[in-house]
């Protein structure tokens, strides 16, 4: 066994490998990212000389660079370095309250002049890589719950920091990602369910204490209202439920064929707040209709399916864990985001991968796709 090379991740380009790229996955992502351009332009009505469109176009280009980096960096180098990356990411999250920018009561961003960095968004991929490192260096056999608890224990630190921002959606998505990585590592479902049960019990105790003993909650109260309103928007149409109701009206009124790009009245007349970021799916629904939206959902399904195939065919456990984590991240984001715009999921600030306006998520997601392609490419390579 060779000594592990030390140093920066090396970028290696193999011309033959290019032909072995999973074009289904790459194609779906490219289609979605290109589709994001007219959708965002429509959602922002081309204001300020198509400011948002131009920015998004630049970000799509940058995201392709990120995708290429993800593809050509060796993911095993990333995993090897992941404790350091993890530490750095936690440092960034911890510094956020001091150097961060506060928007709408949440301190999530660090202003970098050209764009605002969102450490929690970055931390998603960091979590995947770090958990993969944590679990791949372990024995494959899981005897007790204690074998998987460390993966959660490590993650509690960033999750706590993200909750403080506050950003419930990202915090939950990180826990879900960790769970899925743990599952892909071969942990029996029983163990995970047991852990989930314990977690649920802990939540019940915390809320029980809150309601009956008045103990302060570690989260802010408005999240409860948010969750409640997300499921019943008609109850409070002008308050918390407004956004979801307007989003449902937008999607519902799209009908079979949609109102056409730029023609959605809900979108055009600004009935839906955040229609270019978190609620871009309602613009899809209103302007592209059932046919178009099913098409978009199919693209996501394709991405997820390809990720699953790549994960299971992965040449090594690291690749499998990373791909599995990325799959989970996409799945969670798509389901929660689309679900919230249709009123079946609580409203949490989770963007729709590849379509929502926003640099951080787009670049991180593209980088993740790059990593998945990286794994798939390695898989093919060992076949020879």
């Amino acid at each position: 066994m060779q000594a592990k090379p030390v140093g920066l991740p090396s970028i290696r380009i193999d011309k033959k490998a290019i032909q072995r790229i999973d074009f289904w996955l790459l194609g779906a992502v490219i289609v979605l990212e290109i589709l994001s351009l007219p959708l965002i332009d429509s959602a922002t009505h081309g204001v300020d000389g198509h400011y948002y469109l131009k920015r998004q176009a630049v970000m799509v280009v940058v995201s392709f660079v990120a995708l290429l980096i993800g593809m050509f960096v060796d993911y095993r180098d990333l995993i090897r370095l992941s404790p350091w990356i993890f530490a750095g990411s936690i440092l960034l999250l911890a510094l956020l309250p001091f150097i961060g920018k506060t928007v709408g009561g949440a301190t999530r961003w660090i202003s970098l002049k050209v764009f605002d960095l969102q450490p929690s968004e970055l931390h998603k991929v960091v979590t995947i890589v770090f958990t993969a490192w944590l679990l791949s260096s372990k024995d494959r056999y899981y005897d007790s719950i204690w074998d998987i608890i460390p993966a959660y224990a490590w993650t509690l630190i960033p999750v706590g920091l993200i909750l403080k921002q506050p950003d419930l959606g990202t915090a939950i998505s990180i826990i879900v990602i960790v769970t899925e990585v743990v599952y892909f590592s071969g942990a029996p479902g029983k163990l995970i369910l047991t852990l989930a049960g314990i977690g649920l019990l802990a939540l019940l105790i915390v809320f029980g204490l809150y309601w009956y003993a008045g103990m302060p909650l570690p989260i802010e109260e408005h999240w409860i209202d948010r969750i409640v309103s997300a499921f019943n928007p008609e109850k409070d149409p002008l308050g918390l439920g407004y956004q979801v109701l307007q989003s449902k009206i937008a999607i519902g009124s799209g009908g079979l064929w949609g109102k056409g790009l730029g023609q959605g009245t809900q979108n055009r007349l600004d009935f839906i707040p955040e229609q270019h970021t978190d609620f871009i799916f309602s613009v899809v629904g209103e302007e592209l209709g059932f046919i178009g939206t099913i098409g978009v959902i199919a693209l996501y399904a394709l991405i997820l399916y390809r990720c699953l195939c790549i994960a299971l065919d992965s040449p090594d456990s690291e690749g499998m864990l990373i791909t599995g984590g990325i799959l989970t991240m996409f799945l969670f984001q798509v389901v929660v985001n689309a679900g919230m715009t249709m009123g079946i999921m609580p409203v949490t600030g989770i963007p729709l991968p590849f379509l929502s306006y926003g640099a951080n998520a787009l670049i991180v997601n593209s980088f993740c796709v790059g990593l998945v392609l990286n794994v798939s490419w390695k898989r093919h390579k060992i076949l020879f």
Partner: protein, 631 residues
């Protein structure tokens, strides 16, 4: 080239086939399940409830701003306008946001000279309906118009729109019959017949305005406005919208000039009298039943009412008897007194209870019930029916009452239009009371009279129009019209034609026969002769009023005893005698004597009618215009 990681990929660290399959199945089912839920919800929203959400989205961004349709006019038979719509300007406010409102509203209150609180209250009423423009001030003066127009940049959301408002060019003329309009009330909104009205709509509240509401009301037009999420119009062009359809015009049988003469005569009578507070008169076309004039004074000023009058001012006007809203011509109930004798006369002749040749001796009281006296102390001596009418001999009609009985009188009274609605095209007409034995039994059961039987004296008094009789002026006018028209009673009607907004005739309202009095031709001739003698025989009760009019008038005076106060003064009659054209009834509430108070009013009405119909052929020398001559 060998991967430096090749060795690290230890097969022992890879998952078994079994594990891979398990993970694959579980993850795949999670993906399929969650995406199925998404697709199902998408299908539910877009396909199952698509129509509902489409309607909701249209409801979100489409607003209909109404263009009010002008209400139809009411004009007289010559085309004089009695009620029309006047263009006015209304100040509207379109609520934009709180910050702007805080700046705009105090400024607006200063310009309009309105309390800020009052404006804010109006704005608050529209909370949640801010897509609707809020009317702040109606019928503004040109000065305010200019000030607002000049200050427009500082008044965001304020705009001025023309709005037709009801206008009565003749002022208070005929006000009680024309009625008035007002915003639809809460209880009216709940009424099914006004289902297509909305808050703020104008509705005819009384009189002709109410009766012909469906004819007069136009159909509001409107245009669609696209608004954004805050209800602000985006300025997108959504087409021209629908044009308002103006309401139809109602042309009346009324002659404005005669109407004015009637009201002036009534007002004059009120002025002369110390006790009279109100008076009414109805003038009917004998042949058609068309209402030539209908007066009930005092009335009110519809223009003041519509442009806004404070509750306090209104109270003052009503309590000081300056204004009265009741149309006494159709709602006022008066004992007819001697004016009723024409009905008894018709009944007595038709039933054969007397003839023209029968001479009846009046000693000044009725021998069977000596307490029933005649108004002339010594009595009228021998009188036949014609003389009895002329001199208004009470004793003669006590006798007729005795011979006929109240039920026989009522039989004829009913045909002549008494005790029932005449069917005039107005709401709120009173029935009056045409007493019968049956009526009295019922009234007794209800505790309104002392005994159930009709006493002899009551039968007798019923013959000369006292006790229990209560009629409206329009009913009494119908009685005369019936007599003058050879027994054919026409339904009184105000409206003659329905015209479109350009005054083209759409519909003519045909005269309708209400009843025919089936008596021999001699009966009515005899009664009419008696009525002629009232004004033409030197012994006639109204001879001194009419002796010098250049045409023959048939009439009957009445001085009805009023248990509540002074006597009611009546005059009913028709003219000209040979070819009757108009029939009238005049009553001055607590005016006193029929001949001295109501008679002159009737004379003035007849004269005015004749003057208008047959204007004097006098050559008038017009002075040449000085300025024109210079050229």
């Amino acid at each position: 080239m060998k991967s430096k990681y090749r060795e690290v990929t230890d097969p022992s660290k890879r998952l078994s086939q079994k594990d891979t399959k398990r993970i694959r199945n579980v993850v795949l089912s999670i993906i399929v399940l969650s995406f199925s839920v998404l697709c199902l919800q998408l299908f539910n929203l877009q396909i199952v409830s698509g129509e509902k959400y489409r309607a909701m989205s249209e409801n979100n961004y489409l607003r209909i701003t109404p263009i009010p349709a002008p209400r139809g006019d009411i004009i007289d038979c010559k085309g004089n306008i009695l009620a029309t719509s006047r263009p006015t300007f209304t100040v509207f406010y379109w609520y934009l946001d709180e910050a702007k409102a805080e700046e705009t509203l105090p400024r607006l209150s200063e310009i309009l000279d309105m309390e800020l609180e009052q404006i804010e209250k109006k704005v608050q009423q529209y909370a949640g309906r801010y897509y609707q423009p809020i009317p702040i001030a109606k019928d503004i003066s040109p000065e305010i118009y200019i000030r607002i127009a000049e200050d427009a940049p500082n008044l965001p959301g304020v705009f001025i729109e023309p709005q037709p408002i009801r206008y009565y060019p003749q002022g208070s003329l005929m006000s009680t019959t024309l009625g008035y309009v007002g915003e639809i009330s809460q209880s009216q909104l709940a009424d099914a017949q006004w289902a297509d009205y909305k808050i703020g709509d104008i509705l005819g509240q009384e009189g002709l305005e109410a009766y012909y509401e469906k004819v007069l009301r136009g159909k509001d037009g409107g245009y669609q406005v696209e608004v954004d999420y805050r209800g602000r119009p985006t300025g997108s062009d959504l087409g021209p919208g629908t044009e308002p359809q103006p309401g139809k015009t109602v042309q009346l049988e009324i002659d404005c000039d005669l109407q004015r003469a009637v009201e002036n005569a009534l007002l004059e009578a009120l002025e002369k009298s110390e006790t009279a507070k109100s008076a009414a008169a109805v003038v009917l076309d004998v042949k058609t039943g068309g209402v030539k004039a209908i007066g009930s004074v005092p009335g009110f000023d519809g223009n003041m009412l519509i442009s806004g009058i404070s509750a306090q001012e209104l109270d003052e006007k009503i309590s000081s008897d300056e204004w009265r809203f009741a149309n006494l011509a159709i709602t006022g109930l008066y004992t007819p007194g001697s004016a009723f004798k024409v009905v008894t006369a018709v009944a007595a002749l038709a039933e054969g209870k007397t003839t023209e040749s029968e001479m009846f001796f009046d000693p000044g009281y009725h021998p069977m019930v000596p307490s029933l006296v005649c108004h002339r102390r010594g009595g009228h001596g021998y009188v036949n029916i014609v003389d009895a009418l002329a001199v208004s001999c009470n004793t003669y009609f006590y006798e007729m009452g005795r011979r006929l009985g109240v039920d026989a009188i009522a039989k004829y009274g009913r045909v002549m239009g008494l005790g029932a609605k005449t069917g005039i095209d107005l709401f709120g007409e009173n029935y009056g009371t045409l007493p019968t034995t049956e009526w009295k039994e019922k009234a007794y059961a209800e505790g309104r009279v002392a005994q159930p039987q009709f006493l002899l004296s009551e039968h007798m008094m019923a013959g000369m129009g006292q006790v229990f009789h209560l009629y409206t002026p329009i009913q009494m006018a119908s009685v005369v019209q019936c007599i003058a028209n050879d027994g054919v009673r026409m339904k009184p009607r105000l409206a003659a034609k329905i015209l479109d907004s350009d005054y083209n005739v759409i519909e003519e309202i045909e005269p309708e026969i209400s009843a025919v009095l089936d008596v021999g031709p001699d009966v009515l001739d005899t009664v009419r002769e008696g009525m002629l003698k009232v004004t033409s025989d030197p012994r006639g009760t109204a001879y001194w009023v009419f002796y010098n009019v250049p045409f023959e008038v048939a009439g009957k005076t009445g001085t009805a005893q009023n248990p509540l106060g002074e006597d009611h003064a009546w005059f009913i009659g028709f003219a000209p005698f040979d070819e009757p054209e108009i029939a009238l009834a005049v009553v001055v509430d607590q005016g006193g004597s029929g001949s001295t108070v109501a008679g002159p009013v009737a004379r003035e009405i007849f004269e005015s009618y004749m003057m208008l119909k047959y204007p004097p052929q006098v050559e008038v020398e017009v002075e040449p215009d000085q300025t024109r001559e210079e050229h």
